[in-house]
């Protein structure tokens, strides 16, 4: 298969191929971070030189439902041997869900050079490339504390979503059954939504995250992506888009697509997502397969 041409995407530098990783993983200015849903997967074997990042324990504040603050980020980046000039390359399981999530959180702190490995962990493994259980010990750096976590630019809170209703497109990236609100869990399973009510935010279009990915976990072509998001989901030429899912992880994947591959200017991830919206008092929802109307004030 011919190498995929990343120049088709709005930001060609945001993606790297497994070939690129094989060639550049030992470069001084490159730090490779593996971010998985499965907390033990890194330990079973990873790309040589890659360090583990755990979306929950490394990036979240243990007390408040929020991300780590500027000081904590600087300390974390320093421990991983990252400087503001480092090219930080993320990859992970499940077609890069959690890798995209980690990349998005790094974006909040203004780190410039962030990239995702097209196809993620699975592609590297499928290609029969080298894995190791050896854990690298980077030389700590002194990452300067970022002035401010840029929540306003990249993150939507529930108030922002309410304000956005009827003004711009919302993309719900969960599975169709989660979107419509039908009960999907098999008997004996706990409700995997962790929400009081099933359904979606009024006016949100349903575009399950996986629509953006090919079978092998790589991203679809720009042409295919434009058809899915611009046309089918009706995002069109909107200035501002908000994506959400259950806790903001799958929507980070879509955030990456909208921001870096399609080049939408202002794309925010609503990380409160359905676990907040579906439980919150006085917030409207829509059930079924229709997008629904903006509720009257």
């Amino acid at each position: 298969m011919a190498d995929k041409d990343f120049s088709q995407y709005a930001n060609p530098d945001a993606l790297v191929s497994t070939d690129w990783v094989a060639e550049h993983k030992d470069d001084d200015n490159v730090v490779l971070l593996e971010s998985n849903e499965d907390v033990l997967l890194y330990e079973t074997g990873h790309i040589p030189g890659a360090q583990k990042i755990d979306w929950h324990t490394d990036l979240n504040d243990p007390v408040t439902r929020d991300f780590i603050n500027e000081e904590q980020f600087a300390a974390f980046a320093s421990a991983k041997g990252i400087t503001p000039e480092t090219t930080v390359v993320f990859y992970g399981d499940k077609s890069n869900w959690w890798a995209a999530y980690a990349l998005w959180v790094f974006t909040l702190f203004g780190h410039k050079d962030l990239r995702l490995v097209d196809g993620g962990r699975q592609k590297w493994v499928d290609e029969g490339r080298e894995l190791t259980t050896e854990v690298p010990s980077p030389t700590p750096t002194d990452y300067p504390v970022p002035a401010k976590r840029e929540d306003d630019a990249w993150r939507a809170f529930r108030e922002d979503v309410l304000e956005h209703l009827g003004k711009g497109p919302l993309v719900d990236v969960r599975s169709p059954a989660e979107y419509s609100g039908e009960v999907t869990s098999a008997p004996g399973f706990e409700d995997k939504e962790g929400a009081l009510r099933g359904g979606h935010i009024p006016t949100a279009a349903s575009v399950p995250w996986a629509k953006a990915a090919n079978e092998d976990g790589t991203f679809k072509s720009r042409e295919e992506l434009e058809k899915i998001y611009k046309e089918e989901a009706g995002v069109g030429e909107a200035d501002e888009v908000i994506a959400y899912c259950r806790i903001g992880e799958r929507s980070s994947h879509t955030w990456f697509v909208l921001k870096h591959l399609l080049g939408y200017d202002k794309v925010r991830n609503y990380d409160g997502s359905w676990t907040e919206w579906g439980n919150a008092v006085r917030l409207p929802i829509v059930t079924g397969t229709e997008k629904g109307e903006v509720p009257a004030k």
């Binding site: 499965d38 997967l41 599975s175 706990e190």
Partner: protein, 153 residues
């Protein structure tokens, strides 16, 4: 069967003690050891492993079947999970080593808060611990269904 008194089998208690005896980081290593010890699925089930893949997004693929010996009223557990899901394999292995070959009553009496007793909440996160709760619940439901089907009316 909510009236069943909850009681920890000795085999499972031993595993819980093992986890409780070590620090957070080592608990992860221990879980990985368990993951590596999960026995391969017997040959007669190999062609059914495809069932594992047919799960909803966000649910972890798990193959589970129970073999019953009504004479001794004991159950043999067959559990499998893909190599890309070592956490699930670890839980499956704990459940397997702790419950395999026990009597129906002993299995039904396993405390539902097994996941909490392992002390993994901080490193695994509560979200991921749902997997082990669901696994135990599925096994118990399987045993209950079997009891209902075999109880003479």
């Amino acid at each position: 069967m909510t009236n069943t008194e909850q009681k920890m089998p000795a085999s499972l208690q031993e595993i819980v003690d093992e986890f409780q005896a070590v620090e957070d980081r080592q608990r992860l290593e221990l879980l990985l050891e368990f993951a590596n010890e999960l026995p391969d699925v017997p040959e007669q089930y190999q062609d059914r492993l495809g069932e594992m893949e047919q799960v909803e997004e966000c649910q972890t693929p798990l193959f589970l079947t129970v073999e019953y010996d009504d004479a001794s009223r004991t159950a043999q557990l067959v559990l499998a999970a893909p190599a890309e899901a070592p956490t699930t394999r670890g839980f499956a292995s704990i459940v397997h080593q702790g419950l395999n070959g026990l009597t129906y009553e002993e299995i039904l009496a396993v405390p539902d808060d097994l996941a909490d007793r392992l002390g993994l909440a901080r490193t695994i996160t509560p979200l991921r611990l749902r997997g082990i709760r669901a696994m135990l619940a599925r096994i118990k439901r399987n045993v209950r269904d079997h009891l209902q089907q075999t109880t003479p009316h």
